[in-house]
């Protein structure tokens, strides 16, 4: 994809899986261009692609009929109540007038705006405006939902409710969702997979679990209380200490995951320590993201 001579997205080969996928990347990474392309606004300078089986170069309008887009910025039809706005959005997407009105009521109820549906949208709070953007994206029953910064400007409670809603849509309503956000906890909370873009190139793609997993499969061992004796015994059994946080020790051994677990319990037995938990260690998504983008 090019803007004049500038290549915004280059050598990009990607298949979006079903479910909830997060789109990550620093500013200028090509996320916006990627969304524009999915919406059919930009034709690739070379190559091509399909969305829901439709060609992005020639079937932009048909694609947008099957996609719901929730923009980052506030947007609404001036002078309309929520019902009028959402039902109009449905009509624009191709719903018959009566069906659009019915769907508008349903969707507004689902998005938590049932009580305020007859109010002019211009009087809405920031949180309500976020919800109505989601409602207008959902009204025509899209197969794919593009959410651009869905928690933008929300207070903690509003953010929590919005994330629950997104999660509910992707897990219980059978919609595929692509969430574009700078807030990694939001992505972690809602998505199973992530796509990381950097400099217009696909940097990483896969399940969040895989992205966060660490090489060598270290273990996080939580003891009842800190114990130097335990660490000494563990070291004797070939477990190397990587990191300590309170009474939680990150240990890595040379053996298999099962052999390392056995060594942990052996060290605890020898040092008379009480093990509260043993789990496979993983990075935070932020750490994984920074590593991928070279931060």
């Amino acid at each position: 994809m090019k803007y004049g001579q500038f290549t915004a997205v280059d050598n990009f080969d990607l298949t979006l899986p079903e479910g909830c996928v997060g789109l990550l990347g620093p500013n200028g990474a090509g996320k916006t261009t990627f969304l524009k392309t999915l919406l059919g606004f930009i034709t690739p300078a070379a190559g091509g692609g399909t969305v829901l089986g439709m060609d992005i170069a020639t079937q932009g309008a048909a694609i947008r009929q099957q996609i719901g887009y929730m923009p980052e910025q506030d947007c609404h039809i001036p002078g309309n109540t929520a019902v009028q706005f959402v039902s109009y959005a449905g009509e624009l997407a191709g719903l018959p007038h009566n069906r659009a009105l019915q769907r508008a009521h349903e969707v507004l109820e689902y998005c938590g705006l049932g009580e305020a549906r007859y109010r002019n949208v211009e009087t809405y709070s920031t949180g309500m405006k976020q919800r109505i953007k989601l409602a207008q994206a959902l009204v025509h029953g899209p197969k794919l939902l593009l959410l651009d910064e869905p928690t933008n400007g929300l207070d903690p409670r509003g953010r929590e409710e919005m994330l629950s809603l997104v999660r509910d849509i992707s897990t219980k309503k059978g919609l595929s969702v692509l969430v574009c956000s700078h807030l990694l906890p939001d992505i972690e909370r809602t998505c199973e997979e992530v796509i990381v873009l950097l400099g217009g190139k696909l940097q990483a793609q896969g399940p969040i679990r895989d992205l966060k997993s660490m090489t060598g499969e270290p273990l996080d061992v939580e003891l009842r209380e800190t114990s130097g004796e335990f660490l000494m015994r563990a070291d004797q059994l070939g477990l190397r200490l990587l990191h300590t946080k309170g009474s939680v020790y990150r240990l890595q051994g040379e053996g298999t995951r099962l052999e390392n677990c056995r060594s942990v319990y052996e060290a605890a037995k020898r040092s008379q320590s009480q093990v509260r938990a043993v789990r496979l260690a993983e990075r935070s998504l932020e750490e994984a993201f920074l590593e991928v983008v070279g931060g």
Binding site: T32, K36, F41, D74, P96, G141, L175
Partner: protein, 327 residues
Amino acid sequence: MAETPLADLTYRGYDGELSSPHSRWMVIMLHTLRGVAKKKSYWVLTVISSLYYFLFMAIAYFVQNTLNTMEANGMPQGGRRGGGNDFISSFFDRVVWADQFLTGFSFGHLMLMAIVLLVGAGVIANDNRTNALLVYLSKPCRKIDYVFGKWMGVFIPICAAMLIPAIVFYMYGVMNYREHGFLADDPWLGPKLLIVISLAAAFQTSLIVGISSMFNQGRIAGAVYAGFYVLSGVFAGIAGIVQEGGDVPKSVMTMLDRVHYMSIYGGIEGLYKVILQTDGSGVPLADSDQTIFDRPPLVMLIGLVVIPALICMFVAWRRVRAVEVVS
């Protein structure tokens, strides 16, 4: 919220029929029309702008009744075919029917300007203010659908405000004043009216839509249009004042005739004169020494009406950019 059992039952996927992504402009047009129809001020202004027609119909009715009474009492009377000198008997002699539509427009043109502002000033400007393009263009709606839908949503109310009173007057004339030459004077008056009113409405629609697209506030777009309408009218009005002053060489008079049409109002007046093929005799009740400007040449009219309209539509087209939707 989604967690409550009641709410959870409300949302379902939609597998029903979706209309083809083509002709989305009709949805936009209908939505704009619904908004206009709800405005009481639109209807009030439409009635006020058509007062001349009703006034004329009342006077013509009075004159006709008086003539009928005179005939019944065996009093001498003139009338269109018989000739006559007094006001009543010569009233229909002095009436040029096509001119009444031009006068009707001139009489209510400020009200029509208010209708144009009411209907069109915010049509794109308000969408710019609320980022509504994000909604429109993320749906299966192309740029042409948006611009044309908005244009039609403004054109139809303006056209209706001009056309409905004219049609009522025309039908009234056909039914009552055929013997006074209503149809005989110009059998093509009806189709010509349709053409001139459509063109006048299209001209005003194109201007207001173009201006509206340049701003983020409807009231600012409206102020710009109104300012342009009034200032260009004042500029053109100077021509009339100079002409009325008299003692002007013929070449200057010709130039003043041209200047008179260099305004929004003048352009529409020129359309009426060219299409209805009249120079405008004014109100039959008024003194006959009023200034009458010659019909403008067709080429000049095209320059004054078509080019500004095209420029404004080009501006609107450029301002609506789908690629900017995701920013």
